[in-house]
Amino acid sequence: MLLSPADTAQQDRAGFPRLLPVLLLVGGLIGLAAAFALTVEKIALLKDPDYVPSCSINPVLSCGSIMKTPQAELFGFPNPLLGVASFAVLVTVGAALLAGARFHRWFWYGLQLGATLGVVFVHWLIYQSLFVIGALCPYCMIVWAVTIPTFVYVTLRNFPARRLTRYHSVIVALWFLAVITLILIRFWSYWSSLI
């Protein structure tokens, strides 16, 4: 099918041509930094079991207790290793798009698959962290915060739905607020003791 220039322009605009590359690049870098920090902390913890990680601030914000759980090694190796690899890919894709690269459809579907698996995994981790372990890990929360918009924007780009696309940042905001609400409810007694 031949598209007139106007049509392709329309399609490109629907795919967040300016936002998506920057989001992938910046989000990828942030996620990479967090996953890297977690990996380094994990190694420090392995060297010295009494090590208290930099992100163990108080009983609720405590990655030390989280990093020692079996959930932190779901596939038999520390989860952050997955993050280090995947976020590096996001950085690369974002930079390539900024440099004007155009990808085949299969490439975008590959990215979609990765983003979907990522968002599913992150929500399993959110559930475990809040309701099973009962603590929050700041670095992990950075990863959650990056994975959600990545999934939303990659999905809207690949499967544009007019209405949803129009309210793209509302979707992200609602999603974030839902997670924040769960965090508030779960640790309410702790938060209210802070005020």
Partner: protein
């Protein structure tokens, strides 16, 4: 003729482009507005709920908050209580476990000079923290506060952060200390023991304790990042 047609077409295309751009910018603005509205509404609701909980919970009992009560446990006392270090602690908290040997060492170093007070501050997310506090308080009823307190921390890694009740283990600690087990058991399950623990927590919250361990030196909240910080603060208080 065709030139005129072309010109007309071009003008129409231009007009369409302008219109489309306008539509896009309204859509963009609408998206931004709705996003901010949603976030704003959320913030208002959360602030409201916070205010309500605070008004209902805090209104009742700010009458007498005390850093050290007559029934607070003194690990050791110095004559005159010139310098007093109060620790709000949670037996299951990792950082408190790390602070324990430091405090033990300080107690030796400043024996006779500094009064050390321990107060309970079990945190809800620690499954066995409140049980541990009750177990220690039940031992304290038989004069074994210090021994039980040390026992909890010495083997903290054995029981901390396991999400199963540790009653049996705590019972074995009490037995190991040679306590009257019937009396211990009774105190362990007695609501007044829990109330005693909760009194400490209420005092801590009123004093601005946010997490554990939190130290107060002569009523001043300390934020030590190292053993030397605590030592320096104690030395300054002793000198002053």
């Amino acid at each position: 003729m065709s030139q005129q047609q072309d010109r007309g077409e071009a003008r129409r295309a231009k007009l369409q482009a302008v219109q489309a751009e306008q539509e896009r910018s309204t859509a963009r603005r609408r998206n931004t507005t709705v996003t901010f509205a949603v976030v704003g509404a959320f913030l208002v609701i959360v602030a409201g709920v916070f205010a309500v909980t605070k008004a209902t919970s805090g209104g009742g009992e700010p009458q007498n908050v005390q850093l050290v009560r007559s029934d607070s446990h003194r690990l050791q006392s110095a004559p005159g209580d010139k310098v007093t270090l109060v620790e709000f602690l949670d037996f299951e908290c990792e950082a408190c476990g790390a602070a324990f040997p430091v405090i033990e060492q300080l107690r030796k170093q400043y024996s006779g000079k500094v009064t050390f007070v321990a107060r309970y501050f079990p945190i809800a997310s620690h499954f066995n923290a409140e049980r541990a506090a009750r177990a220690v308080e039940a031992a304290a009823k038989q004069g074994k506060f210090e021994a039980m307190y040390q026992q909890m921390y010495q083997v903290q890694k054995q029981w901390a952060e396991k999400k199963v009740p540790a009653d049996e283990l705590f019972r074995s600690f009490a037995r190991g200390l040679g306590l009257d087990m019937a009396a211990w058991e009774k105190a362990y399950n007695d609501p007044t023991t829990l109330a005693r623990v909760e009194q400490d927590v209420a005092d801590g919250k009123a004093l601005g304790v946010e997490g554990t361990p939190t130290f107060f030196l002569n009523g001043q909240k300390l934020q030590p990042t190292s053993t030397d910080d605590i030592k320096a603060a104690i030395d300054a208080a002793l000198a002053g």
